[in-house]
């Protein structure tokens, strides 16, 4: 319900903590970070909120913004949307109902599991596949980092995106309808709060892709809700209420391969970890897979959403706990026919290419700039040392061409100039190529 904000980002830099150490510039998969004047700035057009920089910053200077519990004060009735990854955060747990009950004890009036909505999305995906016999490979749209990556780097694959809403949106819409019916309040008096495992899903609420606006009102972080829940869970264990509506499929969505397993076909690929995601997308783009694949599930985080940076538990431990929790569950507990309320499952807006890496506005300008780029690359030392604050020499050269950086900031060339008096740019300056 939030106003849409283009290129909103949850991930941001805490300037006071940043030492300009350049660790993060190398870990960013879209080369979105530049150290300028000693601080690691994020280029907002390139950032996909994957959280890799948060994972790697040794000084905790890269952070995520999200809402806090107080944001719910303005609502008369508060509903929590817990994702399956949340279930993997707690020790010695064999009943999901304990978690859901604890949520009702820390300030929520009701809960609606994202896992339950995920089972509905799995059902819709199976129908979509059955109705679309064409050989097009479908790529999941559940991980917003992946969708954002595709929109800036893989325009050819936009047509392959599964045009269905992510489970969190379906959960939010159904939760609101149920709450309105239960309470008689107006829809805007109901506060729907998603407990996010990652900054990317915070961004997806502020700046959603494929839908005009998000049905989620408030996005909380798992790590902030976790301590509140620990003490509530002690009590909840004594008398858990019967809330749980997600089965093996719904809970499995928190793990890599879970969404793919839910389509009940075996010709799928599931990859996790941002580097692996990039590799799969590159090979899909080049049509390198010479096998019959119908579905591709990609999760930016290691292990799936259990690996999101706003979680508390180690992803591998969380994964093992989720597997334990879903072991004796029925295949699915939520079926479309069981839900009194319905909601549209389809994405309603086109997800358009954002050509952020373009070197020119026209082909001619691009050719000229490509020539310039090649000339600059001959002069730059090719060490990719990061000393200039850009992740690679090529990134610095491209910044220079876009007017966003200056090749004279190359520290290695400065060193050579200082020690040996070599002026690497002299020739280029003479031919006016700088």
């Amino acid at each position: 319900m939030a106003e849409k904000q283009q290129f909103f980002h949850s991930v941001y830099l805490d300037k006071d903590k940043c030492k300009g150490c350049i660790t993060c510039i190398k870990t960013c998969p879209t080369q979105a970070i530049r150290v300028r004047n000693g601080k690691a700035h994020i280029i907002k057009e390139f950032c996909i909120d994957c959280g890799e920089c948060i994972r790697h910053c040794p000084h905790y200077a890269k952070q995520a913004s999200f809402d806090h519990m107080e944001a719910l004060d303005q609502y008369k009735y508060k509903v929590a949307l817990p994702p399956p990854s949340l279930y993997g955060q707690f020790n010695h747990l064999d009943d999901i109902n304990i978690i859901l009950t604890a949520l009702t004890m820390i300030g929520f009036d009701d809960v609606f599991e994202v896992g339950a909505a995920a089972e509905l999305v799995s059902d819709a995906t199976r129908k979509y596949i059955a109705e679309h016999e064409e050989p097009r490979i479908l790529i999941s749209t559940a991980c917003p980092t992946v969708t954002r990556l595709i929109r800036i780097r893989f325009p050819e694959l936009l047509d392959n995106l599964l045009p269905l809403k992510p489970p969190v949106e379906v959960a939010a819409e159904l939760a609101r309808k149920r709450a309105v019916e239960k309470t008689g309040y107006r829809p805007e008096e109901i506060g729907i709060a998603f407990i996010s495992p990652c900054p990317s899903k915070v961004t997806a609420v502020q700046d959603p892709l494929g839908i005009p606006s998000s049905a989620v009102d408030v996005v909380l972080a798992t790590k902030e809700i976790y301590p509140l829940m620990l003490s509530a869970m002690k009590q909840a264990r004594n008398n858990p209420l019967e809330y749980c509506l997600s089965g093996k499929i719904g809970v499995g969505w928190g793990l890599t391969g879970g969404e793919a397993a839910g389509i009940l076909l075996d010709n799928y690929i599931a990859a996790d970890g941002i580097e692996n995601v990039v590799r799969v997308l590159e090979d899909l783009e080049d049509e390198k897979f010479q096998m019959d694949i119908r579905f591709v599930e990609l999760n930016a985080c290691p292990g799936g959403c259990v690996g999101g940076v706003l979680n508390v538990e180690n992803p591998f431990a969380a994964s093992s706990k989720l597997k334990h929790l879903k072991k004796y569950l029925p295949v699915a507990l939520s079926h479309p026919e069981d839900f009194p309320h319905k909601t549209g499952m389809d994405l309603t807006e086109e997800i358009a290419y954002e050509p952020v890496y373009m070197l020119g506005k026209s082909m001619l300008e691009s050719i000229n700039n490509m020539v310039k780029l090649e000339k600059l690359m001959r002069v730059l030392p090719g060490l990719d040392c990061g000393g200039c604050g850009a992740p690679t020499c090529k990134a610095l050269a491209e910044d220079h061409i876009r007017g966003k950086g200056d090749v004279h900031s190359c520290t290695e060339l400065l060193r050579r100039y200082y020690l040996y008096g070599e002026d690497a740019f002299e020739a280029l300056e003479e031919e006016n190529a700088l």
């Binding site: 780097r153 325009p155 050819e156 783009e285 080049d286 049509e287 010479q290 290419y353 050509p355 890496y357 373009m358 070197l359 020119g360 506005k361 026209s362 082909m363 001619l364 300008e365 691009s366 050719i367 490509m370 020539v371 090649e374 491209e398």
Partner: protein
């Protein structure tokens, strides 16, 4: 690389011994085009056509050179290898025709679709070959006006 005022020229050396790098020239060209206001459909055609040609230079010939010229409205790729040449071009151009050895078939090559795909993805396609001398394939793909 060299350049005149209205075009860009790149040359890639494709080495027979470099099997694990096969496909890297076409991938480099693709990445350049993606930054250059070229429509996605053309980028895809270029990368498929050039990839198939590059692979053929390695699995069927002894390597060679690829010259790429990028103009405002088109790209011209000239793939030139040094033997063994193709005796019957018409036969080689047929879908499914292949003389690929078993070891590369295991890697997914040798479906006999390379040359047909190169032709269907190009707007202009020319192949010349002489047994014992080599094969030269020239492909032109026009970009869609923005």
């Amino acid at each position: 690389m060299s350049f005149s005022n209205d075009s860009l020229h790149f040359q890639y050396v494709v080495s027979k011994d470099d099997f694990t790098h096969a496909g890297s020239a076409s991938s480099d060209v693709k990445n350049k085009l993606k930054k250059m206001n070229v429509d996605a459909a053309a980028v895809r055609k270029v990368s498929i056509a050039m990839y198939e040609g590059e692979i053929n230079m390695i699995i069927h010939a002894y390597g060679g050179t690829i010259d790429v010229d990028i103009y405002e409205d088109r790209i011209v790729m000239c793939l030139k290898d040094t033997g063994p040449g193709i005796a019957n071009i018409e036969e080689a151009m047929q879908e499914g025709f292949s003389t690929a050895p078993a070891d590369v078939i295991n890697l997914g090559f040798g479906a006999g679709m390379g040359l047909p795909n190169m032709r269907s993805n190009s707007d202009e396609f020319n192949i010349e070959s002489e047994v014992g001398v080599g094969t030269t394939v020239t492909m032109t793909i026009y970009f869609n006006p923005a």
